[in-house]
């Protein structure tokens, strides 16, 4: 009598991510999501159908071999899974945490057609963390080819685009130097994204890995000021330059009262807290001022990060003000839900018109106007229209403006011959990152305007390939 092979029941929902309790975490900067256990990971990996189509791969800008690494997890071969990911992704512990997988790999998952998609991001994070904790760093990580044969390439900016481009070029045998303006490498990963979403030790370990590939990082070097792109090419012996300087310039609203004390750009608010560790003041010397009642303007991921940071810095109430409705909110759903659980209030269809201060110049309130949704604008979203006579005042003592960042203008302004787009971006070929200057490539937010970590990484990867092709053809 033969036994029929037992078919495992289909699990329709993702294995939940263990998390810190919302009430506890609102008072600390420790990571919110705690990560899968081995048991969680194997169970989630078993949800993967290992389908022929492998559609998930088309959603990954850095082309990770997703079904292959999941198959390794299913068998409990976590180190092997990590090696599969590392073939394509130099920063998996970061991507597993901050990629918007719902718009990338998981959007294409076959399981997702009827049920919840496989938790690819959670699995990637598990594998990357496993590798960071359990693996000895490889003495000399494998190089794919030696086409670079030691030729020198400069990378400007050590954010996701720059790190990816540098790591890929190093693997091809190039001698790569990254120039970073701040005192610490990582770009937005260290100054922007908070500790509770992306612990800085995780970022540092990933950067250590990139350095182990032979990439040199020079901090405290502002390309445009300390050195120019032309000097790198003409005097310092670099044969190509990749510019990944990001979208670091804060936007303000240009409303009255914006220069009152207590009004921060999200960039400043987050940089003081994350890069400078103002949450550990006075042990760390950088101060930050968070009042009792904080208003955050905007509803993207940066706004939500700012709001949750304000709460952790001790604010009694934190409110988000967004001029459109919940449906148009650009923040990830997961982050919105996390923020709501922690007690952040969301005010939709409302926009500040004036910030009010006392005679000492400190913020005491914010005047807003109600909005309604009108016709769709060029972004396809219905555009907000003010409702006449609906003005109202909110008592707040800190305002964080998080309505977006513009490309950092320093390199574009100081590099002759570089074609600049309408909004201050560097014009570059989408597939190669080639700019209007020979030997100069660009990618990430400096080309696209503010976008995501993973898109910047994808651009860095494409540019690395194009730089290799350019230098190979030249010699």
């Amino acid at each position: 009598m033969s036994e029929k092979p037992k078919k495992k029941p289909l699990v329709k929902v993702k294995r939940p991510m263990p998390e810190q309790d919302p009430h506890v975490r609102a008072g600390n900067f420790d990571e919110v999501a705690l990560g899968y256990s081995a048991e969680d990971a194997i169970a989630e990996a078993e949800r993967c159908l290992q389908c022929k189509e492998q559609n998930c791969k088309q959603g990954c800008p850095v082309e990770v071999d997703i079904p292959e690494f999941i198959a390794e997890i299913k068998e409990g071969r976590f180190a092997e899974a990590a090696r599969v990911i590392r073939r394509k992704n130099n920063l998996p512990a970061i991507c597993g945490r901050v990629c918007p997988q719902e718009n990338q790999c998981e959007q294409y998952c076959l399981m997702g057609k009827k049920f919840e998609p496989v938790g690819i991001g959670r699995l990637e994070r598990f594998v990357a963390d496993y590798a960071l904790q359990n693996e000895q760093p490889e003495e000399s990580p494998a190089r794919e080819s030696a086409s670079g044969s030691g030729r020198r390439v400069a990378v400007v900016g050590s954010g996701p685009a720059g790190l990816t481009c540098a790591a890929d070029l190093a693997r091809m045998g190039y001698q790569v130097t990254i120039f970073e303006a701040l005192h610490k490498s990582g770009g937005v990963l260290v100054y922007g994204i908070p500790e509770f979403r992306l612990p800085k030790r995780v970022v540092q370990t990933e950067i250590d890995y990139v350095q182990s590939l032979g990439v040199e990082i020079k901090v405290n070097t502002v390309i445009s000021k300390t050195l120019s792109v032309d000097e790198l090419l003409d005097e310092f012996g670099f044969e190509a330059v990749f510019i990944g300087t990001g979208a670091g310039a804060p936007r303000f609203m240009r409303i009255p009262g914006e220069n009152l004390i207590g009004v921060y750009s999200a960039n400043e608010f987050l940089t003081r807290t994350n890069l400078m560790k103002a949450y550990l003041f006075p042990e760390y010397a950088t101060p930050i001022r968070v009042g009792r009642r904080v208003a955050v303007v905007g509803a993207g991921n940066v706004a939500v990060d700012s709001a949750r940071t304000a709460l952790r810095l001790g604010a009694e109430s934190v409110q988000i003000f967004y001029r459109r409705s919940r449906d148009e909110m650009p923040a990830r759903l997961e982050e919105f839900l996390h923020a709501e659980e922690e007690g952040i209030e969301f005010n939709f269809l409302i926009n500040p018109v004036r910030i009010i201060g006392d005679e000492r110049g400190w913020v005491t309130g914010m005047e807003c106007i109600r909005m309604t949704l009108g016709e769709p604008d060029e972004s396809g979203r219905r555009s907000p229209v003010p409702v006449d006579g609906s003005n109202c005042e909110f008592e707040v003592d800190t305002v964080v403006i998080a309505i977006g960042q513009s490309p950092n203008p320093l390199v574009p302004r100081t590099t002759p011959g570089l074609e600049i787009g309408r909004r201050g971006t560097i014009v570059a070929d989408e597939e190669t990152g080639q700019t209007s200057r020979e030997g100069v490539f660009a990618g990430g937010d400096i080309v696209t305007g503010a976008a995501t970590v993973i898109l910047a990484m994808g651009a860095g990867k494409k540019a690395a390939r194009a730089i290799d092709a350019y230098l190979s053809a030249k010699y």
Binding site: A181, T226, T271, P282, A285, T286, N408, L410
Partner: protein, 279 residues
């Protein structure tokens, strides 16, 4: 790391440092500044470049010990090194190459004024320098400034050296004596720059001032150094630090400078009680 090559006391609570930073020294120009972080737990503060030596690869800064970081710096000695040193940042001064320029320095403001005075003099400009301080012992760099100035005037609050009074008293005299003045440059405490600007506005004299606003990155990323100039918000780090004085909202700047006064007191209390290592 950026070693301290020279440390010298110029006046009570005011010290001169020469820091080894060859890449910064290679590019530095009058009017620019650096961002400094003294140690791992330190904050980033902007300091104006007082001089540079391209051959030696050094930057000179003159620092008044007023806050936590400047006091921590004061405890460092030759041979110690600053952890981070970034620059040269901001725009170089746009200096005239003819006519008469009145250069006014107040307190440590005389330090960043010095390379401008020297450059103006070397271009052949008639330089009239006015320096001011609380008392004789607080005057700095008068000899160096005198060397490159066609006239050097001194004012002290208590009259212990030069004229008893303010720099503006001397400026007003110069104007009323009919001295032809093409431009005024004023660098010093905000209140001094505001008062100078009040005078030059009356006489319609073009005036440049240099702001030393609070900054974090110094490269246009944070907006901490916002200043209203001619009704428009500018960033002192990338749009300045020098601005047309007649357009600057000084009252707003003075208010903004007070934002962390409470925290600063807290940090200083820790420093003074010795429960924190300055290095």
């Amino acid at each position: 790391m950026y070693p301290i090559q020279v440390k010298r006391t110029l006046a009570p609570g005011v010290r001169l440092y020469e820091i080894s930073a060859p890449l910064v020294a290679r590019k530095a120009q009058p009017g620019q500044f650096v961002i400094v972080r003294v140690n791992e737990t330190g904050e980033r503060i902007p300091l104006t470049i007082a001089d540079y030596d391209r051959k030696m690869g050094t930057i000179t800064m003159v620092v008044q010990e007023i806050g936590f970081t400047t006091k921590t710096l004061a405890k460092m000695e030759v041979g110690d090194a600053l952890l981070d040193f970034i620059g040269p940042l901001g725009n170089p001064s746009e200096l005239r190459d003819s006519g008469t320029v009145v250069c006014i320095g107040g307190g440590v403001g005389c330090a960043p004024l010095y390379p401008q005075v020297r450059a103006l003099s070397q271009k052949g400009v008639n330089v009239i320098t006015i320096v001011g301080a609380r008392s004789a012992e607080h005057l700095i760099l008068t000899r160096e400034l005198g060397r490159y100035s066609n006239q050097l005037h001194i004012a002290t609050d208590d009259g212990s050296q030069g004229r008893k009074g303010f720099v503006t008293d001397i400026l007003k005299d110069l104007i009323e004596q009919g001295t032809p003045i093409d431009q005024v440059i004023a660098i010093g405490p905000m209140i001094m720059m505001k008062v100078v600007t009040g005078v030059t506005k009356q006489y319609n004299l073009p005036t440049m001032i240099s702001l030393n606003s609070l900054m974090v990155d110094g490269t246009g990323m944070c907006g901490s150094c916002r200043v209203t100039v001619g009704g428009v918000t500018k960033f002192a780090c990338v749009d300045g630090p020098e601005f047309d004085a007649h357009q600057v909202d000084f009252d707003e700047q003075m208010k903004r400078a007070a934002v962390y006064r409470d925290q600063e007191a807290k940090a200083l209390a820790r420093l003074d009680c010795g429960c924190r290592n300055g290095h």
